[in-house]
Symmetry: C2
Subunit: 307 residues, 2 copies
């Protein structure tokens, strides 16, 4: 089993009602691989500048993450600056500096090309396509995207979708992609555009999996102290694909468990700033919250004589 | 088993992106009893004016709803006018005319006084208290409230809460009551104020039950064609208390099933305007969607060797 993620490795500056951090570790590939590496072997393809503190990724190396595909080039690392209000569900972006990411051209090495499962982080759909063109025989492709590409690179995105097994986006993205306000209808429309399955991430409200004609809803695990929601979506994706790779399956039951695993790991991510909580997270912690998830949503059948 | 609801019986004018209706049947007691009467015997205490088309309630009478406590007095019926945008999650109130409701003084008859379970619809907490003062031996009291009373009649509400087994409010109400933005913490604070259990209704995102220290989350049943969200909360309450009364229980398992039953019946309510969908709803329809709910949220345990 093997998993590849292509995405950003970034330095984030974040302000929430509970504090702020400057130039801390961030990026979609970083959150993804921190989550997924708890469950399986992950290769990262991305780029950082010569200002990037590579030592900050040691905890990933110790978990066996293959960072061969993380290029270091001259220039500054991708930086994102954002702010959350008391409604922690959406960030206000204050600044985005693409820097070395602007001329990023993903190159898959020998190991990465053979990855069985691929996560295409939120980058230009043309780059996402070029990743797939280099992959040899992926059994499952999962892609994120965002409003910027949905409007600005729509044609490329529509070419990509038929090659995507799981489109993983948030409410507003699937609505915008489909031009449809109802999330169920919007997800169905995305399926008609070619995405085999759709996972709609709904922040503190959980995630909806639309798998063929079936639907599955996982709530977010209720967290009393959400400190920083940054990276929740990418660590959700890491938990999701990490479990599918570990199970070596994408049957309907595995997709449901993967959705819960995504929500489980994301619920840890938001408990601290940056990757602080993921850094020391153990598989045992994850397992026990996964099991608590069952208790959170479980209810007994009604006996036939009752209703 | 017997259930009492005290609340409004109203004429609503509603506009949604999918159409509009003028002076149609509405009100908390109406939605509640339409839902609950599918499951148990319900008595209604409320008031209407001499302009109210009592024939519109025949479908409730046919379901055995006891309308003895619905006074008809000189004057105009309570009227509400509201509008929903494409975000169907919250209404904009355009007009509220209390009319005969302004001098409403709930009087419980012989049957109503003996009710084992009581739903206090969203009315002045002083009136809610006077209902409880007339009740003989309720086994379970469930109360709704709203921002207007939370700020305007806070002292009365705080006196009421220790007599409430289930406080049933929406996100913003529990946040406002507790002065706390995190919903989990806000629900805990409401428990400290005296409410034994708290159900937080989250519209299209489902409902959270906080039962002692336990938490249970039921998503909203995904509906592709939401036409009019009016009454979803009160029919949720009707399904919730209707099932508890039918089961004659409020143990943790019954509270979970009741939460799902509330979400189930509410999901029918929003499919049509006013009480149009509830009017012809059968218990068989309800049962089959309740069972579909299990499928929506069910996932298999992870085998021990996997994680």
């Amino acid at each position: 089993m093997s998993l590849l993620v292509v995405g950003s490795v970034a330095l984030d500056s974040v302000e929430t009602p509970f504090g702020s951090r400057e130039n801390v570790l961030g990026g979609s590939a970083t959150y993804f691989s921190a989550a997924a590496s708890l469950l399986t072997k992950v290769s990262v393809v991305g780029v950082v500048g010569d200002d990037f503190p590579l030592g900050d990724l040691d905890f990933l190396r110790h978990r066996g993450v293959d960072l061969e595909g993380l290029e270091k080039v001259a220039g500054r690392t991708f930086r994102w600056k954002g702010k959350y209000g008391f409604d922690l569900n959406s960030a206000q972006t204050l600044d985005t500096q693409l820097n070395v990411f602007e001329s990023f051209e993903p190159k898959l090495g020998a190991v990465a090309r053979k990855a069985e499962r691929i996560f295409l982080g939120n980058i230009d759909p043309e780059l996402q396509m070029r990743v797939l063109d280099q992959a040899e025989r992926p059994r499952l492709v999962c892609a994120d995207t965002m409003n910027f590409w949905i409007t600005g690179k729509r044609a490329s995105l529509l070419k990509l979708l038929p090659r995507v097994d799981v489109l993983m986006v948030n409410d507003s993205e699937v609505r915008q992609l489909a031009g449809e306000s109802n999330v169920i209808k919007a997800a169905r429309a995305a399926q008609k555009m070619g995405a085999k399955n759709v996972v709609v991430k709904r922040g503190e409200y959980g995630a909806l999996l639309v798998d063929g004609a079936q639907r599955f809803y996982a709530p977010a695990f209720p967290i009393a102290d959400v400190v920083d929601p940054t990276g929740a979506g990418d660590s959700f994706a890491g938990g999701f694909l990490g479990l599918l790779d570990r199970l070596n399956s994408s049957d309907p039951s595995a997709l449901r468990q993967a959705t819960v695993m995504g929500a489980t790991i994301a619920s840890f991510t938001v408990e601290q700033f940056s990757l602080d909580r993921l850094r020391d997270l153990s598989l045992q912690d994850v397992r026990s919250r996964f099991d608590a998830f069952r208790h959170l949503t479980h209810f007994e059948e009604l006996p036939d004589h009752v209703v």
